[in-house]
């Protein structure tokens, strides 16, 4: 599955893998996000932090009518305001999708899969 964009000379197909990498990159560049988590906690373990190649396991993309709905699974550092970190993730994911891929996300859902205690 991929997102299709109608452009001047034809269609542009952007694969979900590309989108997942952009989404994951945007999400993890946010302050307070200590990692991407897998959407599949049973198979991959609840606290497995995904590496960049596996971001797609923590990003679910549904596309509909040139718009996409993104679910992002993250792990947040302990001692931070989780709601605010998540909102920042929404902002930067939305911004980066528009900025880098020209895709407007209809919604960006953030699922906090875990909280990691950072030693203090």
């Amino acid at each position: 599955m991929a997102v299709k964009i109608k452009a001047k000379y034809g269609l542009i197909d952007i694969s979900n893998n590309v989108i997942a990498t952009v989404v994951g990159g945007a999400a993890t560049s946010n302050y307070g996000v200590v990692g991407m988590a897998s959407k599949n906690t049973i198979r991959d373990g609840a606290f497995t932090i995904l590496n960049r190649e596996n971001y797609r396991r923590g990003v679910v993309i549904k596309s509909k009518d040139n718009q996409i709905i993104v679910d992002v699974y993250i792990i947040v550092g302990y001692g931070l305001k989780i709601s605010e970190v998540s909102r920042n993730v929404q902002d930067s994911v939305k911004y980066n999708l528009e900025h880098l891929l020209g895709i407007k996300a209809k919604s960006v859902n953030v699922i906090v899969q875990g909280v990691k205690v950072l030693d203090e």
């Binding site: 307070g32 009518d65 605010e84 203090e120």
Partner: protein, 555 residues
């Protein structure tokens, strides 16, 4: 006299003065905001974070440093807003952890606390970006630490922290290319510099223990908290505003009124928060000042009047304000070399045109045709050296042609008769080609687009052999009424069926302000099930257009 210790009282002054300094400059910080998302709210967010921390410190009865830094850290955590706010809260969480057991702060304690804050803050980020608030915090803490190795004077250490922060702030454009490109320093870093400067001022004793917000500062607080920078406002849709009236009152609590009720700020806030949002209520015992966004301003007055005389009263209709801001913003858009001007109505349709590269939109359509003058004005305002006009309605083509003749620059008309045609024509626009080439290229594909419109009949009549009944839905294909049916979905489906042929590939449905996405989905589901074998693609957009329930194009 050399100061070697910071007491609880002094720390309170430092926090108060930091919060004060930041809130005074929040708007300035907003304007610097280009990273990580340029939404112009860093100052506002940091201010809300620090204000919440300062409030919590103010409410803390203890004079022990550990209790105060805990209050500060908790208050900031609860009030954290935005990326920069979260980082600030984490900096002071680390600050608190290092001072937990202390009664006062020595120079070494202070330097260690800043360093620990930085260590904490760096832990919660996967890939720290240098050139941000983190860099400023780190360099500031290092500078403080070096100073503390030389002297026991806490003022000197704090001064070193401020100096370090300012120096680091200056280097941010060299570390972060996006800042250099725009020519600003990092907004979060600048916010932190204001906080540290405030600390220093508080420590130097430029303090006022009975410090109360005065009126102008109250206004500033309100402004910073609730009316974000213009650049951020235009990203909101006017229709997103839930509570439309920005209502402000002052209540003179000393005045006698019949059946006067006893004033309790908490109770007061609670009641008002039920009838609106963005609430700000402050009181010094004699006067209460209220700012609230609500749909029912009268209720705010009635309620306020129970506690005293109403002083200043102000109501702004924020929907109108917002539209003005958005319109002004549109007008201020940069002049382009080659402008495309389209006539359209409906927020969704405007957005679609803009996303395709249309520079200016003239409001209009079926019920309100723009005049030649309107079009001429749009051409002038664009400041372009050549222009293309998409009338998107058969009735406007003439006016557009007249405007083109009167204009000082070459203007081409692509005779689009419907919104769908206009959207298709834009796909062939080439800003590097000249006007005539563009008109030719953009007009070429118009025949391949079939346009359908669904609206409601306003009277009984018979047109084109179709019996039309009042209040039935009408399916109009390329200007001719083809379907009349009392059901919206059935009308639309029947109309699309008539538009389809074996060459049809893409069906675009724009639902208007009187239809819903659900209606559109229902239509598409029906078409899909009837054409399972055909390779049809569907696109649905919220057009938001008036009059027409659906605008459909088949290509």
């Amino acid at each position: 006299m050399e100061l070697t210790e910071i007491t609880g009282q002094q720390f309170k002054d430092m926090v108060r003065s930091a919060s004060h300094r930041l809130s005074k400059n929040a708007e300035f910080v907003d304007k610097l905001n280009v990273f990580p998302v340029p939404d112009g709210d860093t100052g506002t967010n940091m201010n809300l974070t620090v204000t919440s921390g300062a409030k919590s410190v103010n409410e803390c009865d203890s004079n022990k440093i550990g209790d105060l830094t805990e209050a500060l850290s908790k208050g900031m955590l609860m009030g954290a807003r935005g990326n920069s706010g979260v980082i600030t809260s984490q900096l002071f969480r680390g600050f608190y952890k290092a001072t937990e057991d202390l009664d006062t702060l020595t120079a070494t304690d202070l330097a260690t606390a800043f360093s620990n804050g930085v260590a904490s803050a760096y832990k919660a980020v996967m890939k720290p970006v240098e050139g941000t608030i983190l860099t400023v915090a780190r360099v500031a803490a290092e500078s403080g630490k070096n100073k503390a190795a030389e002297t026991n004077n806490v003022t000197e250490v704090m001064r070193a922290v401020v100096d370090g922060a300012r120096k680091a702030l200056k280097t941010t454009p060299d570390l972060l290319p996006v800042l250099k490109q725009v020519g600003v320093v990092d907004s979060g870093g600048q916010g932190l510099v204001f906080i540290y400067q405030g600390f220093l001022e508080g420590l130097l004793g430029e303090k006022d223990n009975d410090y109360q917000l005065d009126d102008t500062e109250m206004d500033e607080l309100i402004n910073a908290a609730h009316h974000q920078a213009e650049s951020a406002q235009v990203q909101l849709a006017t229709s997103d505003i839930k509570n439309g009236y920005c209502t402000e009152i002052m209540v003179d609590l000393t005045a006698d009124v019949p059946n006067k009720k006893k004033f309790d700020l908490e109770e007061f806030r609670k009641h008002l928060s039920e009838i609106g949002d963005s609430l700000l209520a402050v009181s010094d015992g004699d006067i209460a000042k209220v700012h609230v966004h609500t749909e029912h301003p009268a209720e705010v007055f009635t309620y306020g009047k129970q506690f005293g005389e109403l002083g200043k009263i102000k109501i702004d209709n924020m929907r109108i304000e917002h539209e003005t801001i958005v319109e002004n913003h549109d007008e201020q858009e940069e002049a382009v070399d080659f402008a495309v001007i389209a006539v359209a109505s409906g927020h969704g349709i405007r957005e679609l045109f803009k996303s395709e590269g249309v520079n200016r939109i003239i409001s209009g359509g079926q019920t309100m045709n723009p005049s030649t003058q309107d079009i001429l004005d749009a051409i002038k305002k664009s400041g372009a050296r050549k222009a293309i006009i998409l009338p998107n309605n058969g009735n406007i083509v003439m006016a557009a042609k007249q405007a083109a003749e009167l204009a000082d620059i070459p203007v081409g008309i692509v005779p689009t008769k419907t919104i769908s045609q206009g959207l298709t024509a834009m796909l062939s626009f080439d800003p590097d080609a000249d006007v005539d080439e563009n008109v030719e290229a953009m007009s070429e594909d118009l025949d391949t687009v079939k346009s359908g419109e669904v609206t409601k009949a306003i009277r009984d009549t018979e047109i084109d052999d179709i019996q039309v009944h009042k209040d039935d839905y009408l399916g109009i294909i390329d200007g001719e009424i083809k379907v009349d049916n009392p059901d919206l979905i059935d009308t639309t489906v029947a109309m699309i069926e008539k538009m389809l042929d074996e060459d049809s590939e893409i069906i675009t449905v724009l639902y208007g302000s009187d239809a819903t996405k659900k209606d559109a989905d229902a239509v598409i589901a029906k078409i899909k099930s009837a054409h399972e074998d055909d390779d049809l693609e569907f696109e649905v957009h919220d057009g938001g257009q008036p009059v027409y329930y659906f605008l459909v194009s088949v290509e």
